[in-house]
């Protein structure tokens, strides 16, 4: 079976027309004075989904989360959770919990009291609270830190306490505001997988806000890319990467080479794009772009091959000069300056330890790619 990207998961309620949406943003607008943080945005999230809101800082993604938590009310539009309109319901009566970017641990309470806080609010009987707190501590592997105060913990431990506290009440939805933002790179990568496991084992719906596209790609079932308070695209990580819907999304997620041009000739999805510099690109992914339409051809670096000789039978092969090489161990990144001045980024996996005929700076080289390797963007 052919699929976008290299993974396939059976969980895909968004493709099922009968699936009931769990969280619905319905034409939601939020204004702070003159500033429009969220602009007439609609979004659907399904039960048990790991959903990521991805965008640069100030794009309105945190505002979306805060509206869901109840700290802000939409200026217009409505937010539904499991069919219920959330308007007017204060944060302390919503069946959602949030993990704060700053963790917001209560400094005057021990770890176990922090975790028990929400349970005590619900009037849960004491033995049950103790059992649940123990369970949570075990889940985040902090059993021996139960009596510590937050200031006696490391950053990673605090993050886990915040997580334990926010899932202790078994909320319908867990909101995570930049949950890994304060951790160092290595810890962040480990924690990403732990969060995914946790979401799977508890069967909760997670909505995570992040500005880190790698984090969103790793963890989420689907990603909504937000820019200036509007949704640019909602899709699985593979779709976002392999089939971006616009120039913005293609440029925002991962590295991309972009060729602006006009559709010169086309039939049944295949087309030639004339970039106006004597370079013509043939692609099979033109979609329904009309002849003469101004489009961008976007292609990811790893889908471009660099070689010293023109490859035999290549549909797209352009000559240039090696301008920069970055050896990263697992792969090598080449910057090739084409003869029209355009710089193309190409990356090659270093599958073998020993390379025959390696390229060097200022060598003449050919960049080539298959006709199905890139996408045509009309927006």
């Amino acid at each position: 079976m052919k699929s976008l990207g290299s993974i396939r998961r059976d969980f895909a309620p968004w493709n099922d027309p009968n699936a009931k949406p769990y969280i619905q943003f319905d034409n939601v607008t939020k204004k702070f004075g003159d500033f429009t943080a969220v602009n007439n945005l609609s979004l659907t999230i399904f039960e048990r989904e790991f959903f990521a809101l991805l965008g640069a800082s100030g794009c309105g993604k945190s505002t979306l989360l805060r509206m869901l938590a109840g700290f802000e009310e939409p200026t217009a539009g409505r937010i539904l959770l499991d069919g219920q309109d959330l308007r007017g319901i204060p944060p302390y009566r919503r069946p959602v919990n949030m993990m704060f970017q700053s963790y917001a641990l209560f400094p005057h309470m021990t770890v176990e009291n922090n975790i028990a806080f929400g349970l005590k609010q619900d009037g849960m009987p004491k033995p049950e609270i103790a059992a649940r707190v123990g369970e949570m501590l075990k889940l985040v592997k902090l059993e021996q830190f139960a009596k510590r105060k937050p200031h006696q913990l490391s950053g990673g431990q605090r993050q886990r306490v915040a997580l334990a506290r926010s899932v202790a009440k078994r909320p319908k939805v867990l909101l995570l505001d930049e949950p890994l933002g304060a951790l160092d790179k290595k810890l962040r990568e480990e924690t990403q997988f732990e969060l995914m496991d946790l979401q799977q084992s508890l069967g909760l719906t997670f909505v995570v806000v992040t500005h880190d596209q790698e984090e969103a790609m790793t963890m989420a079932d689907r990603i909504a890319i937000i820019d200036k308070g509007e949704v640019m695209q909602v899709a699985t990580p593979a779709e976002v990467y392999e089939a971006p819907g616009s120039r913005f999304v293609a440029g925002f997620v991962g590295n991309v080479n972009m060729f602006e041009g006009k559709i010169a000739r086309g039939d049944a999805g295949a087309a030639s794009i004339d970039t106006g510099n004597g370079i013509t690109i043939r692609t099979e992914n033109a979609g329904d772009a009309a002849i003469g339409a101004a489009v961008a051809f976007a292609i990811r670096p790893e889908k471009i091959k660099v070689s010293s000789k023109k490859p035999d039978g290549a549909v797209n092969a352009i000559e240039g000069e090696v301008y920069d090489i970055a050896y990263l161990g697992d792969m090598t990144v080449y910057h090739v300056r084409l003869d029209d001045g355009h710089v193309v980024r190409a990356s090659t996996m270093n599958a073998a330890r020993i390379t025959e005929d390696p390229l060097s700076w200022n060598d003449r080289a050919w960049v080539s790619f298959r006709p199905d390797a890139g996408v045509v963007l009309t927006r």
Partner: protein, 324 residues
């Protein structure tokens, strides 16, 4: 990375070694000097005067200049000094316990100060809370307004309250004119007037530490509490108030300690019917010219205040530890 750290450490120790021994000695001296100055201040302006007061409190009143005996000195040689020391006695302290006036004055002072402190806290907390939650641009102005009364003399401000509180004063005129009361309220020369005076005068000392405690509190803690199912009032008592406790303690002690020994406010607003230790002290000293007894009153007052002062210092030390 660890390599870089090691290199950095070696470089800095090399730099230390490079510094001349003399320069380091000089630095150490300056460091000591900075500590010595406040200690010298305390020795000259607190410890020595206290020792003098303490000595007077062990003396007997006399019609002389100074009005007590013995006057310590080396006029009669060392044996003379020893003779003089033998004349010292704790008679005055025994006297304080025998006359109910003093015990009553101490107890009343502590009660009045305690009630005033609670009232000041009740008035000051909402003010400090409002300031801490005000837009950041507005806060310096609000802070300025709290400190503004200090620009006028304390004495004048207390006098002004006489004009407000007296039977034919502003307050009564206002209430009579608006028909709330038919007869003027008697507030001046009662304990109520003292409470009003203390709350008014010491409010900034309550508001400022409360404000500094509330202002540095992370508002996301309140949001977290709400998020976990805590209604706003409950969030205040469970999160905001416990976290502002260092400020509450500091504010209460800053009000309570000076209020116990307060003289001007009870004298001007409390009239002759009210009894407070500051006034008693003043009477002993200036009306009776009984320096030894008034010194004994002062020494006991100091001992009475040392307990809350020590509590204050411990609370501060704990708060500092928590900040780390």
């Amino acid at each position: 990375m660890s390599n870089a750290a090691v290199t950095a450490a070696t470089t800095s120790s090399a730099a230390d070694a490079g510094k001349s021994a003399l320069a380091r000695l000089g630095e150490a001296f300056v460091g000591r000097l900075v500590i010595i100055i406040p200690y010298l201040w305390l020795v000259f302006f607190f410890l020595i005067p206290f020792v003098i007061v303490f000595k007077i409190s062990l003396s007997q009143t006399a019609i002389a200049i100074p009005p007590y005996t013995p006057v310590l000195g080396f006029g009669d040689g060392l044996s003379g000094l020893l003779d003089q020391l033998k004349q010292l006695s704790i008679d005055n302290y025994t006297w304080l316990t025998q006359d109910a006036l003093y015990v009553n004055a101490y107890v009343t002072s502590v009660i009045v100060a305690a009630i005033s402190t609670v009232l000041t806290l009740l008035v000051g907390y909402p003010i400090a809370y409002g300031m801490a939650r005000a837009p950041a641009t507005l806060r310096p102005t609000l802070l300025m307004l709290v400190i503004l009364p200090f620009w006028t003399s304390f004495l004048i401000r207390v006098y002004a309250w006489i004009g407000i509180l007296k039977p034919e004063g502003l307050l009564n005129q206002l209430l009579l004119a608006s028909g709330v009361i038919n007869q003027p309220l008697i507030i001046l020369n009662t304990y109520t007037a003292i409470f009003i005076g203390i709350v008014y005068s010491y409010l900034p000392f309550m508001v400022l530490p409360l404000y500094s405690a509330l202002e540095k509190m992370d508002y996301s803690l309140i949001e977290a509490a709400k998020d976990l199912g805590c209604p706003p009032t409950s969030a205040f008592w469970k999160i905001t108030f416990p976290l502002s406790l260092p400020g509450v303690i500091a504010g209460c002690l800053l009000v309570f300690i000076p209020a116990v020994g307060e003289f001007v406010i009870p004298d001007l607003l409390g009239g002759s019917q009210t009894l407070m230790i500051g006034k008693t002290l003043w009477n002993e000293f200036f009306a009776n010219r009984d320096w030894p007894v008034s010194s004994a009153v002062a020494v006991i007052l100091l001992l009475l205040l040392i307990v809350p002062i020590m509590l204050f210092q411990r609370a501060q030390a704990r708060a500092q530890e928590q900040d780390k």
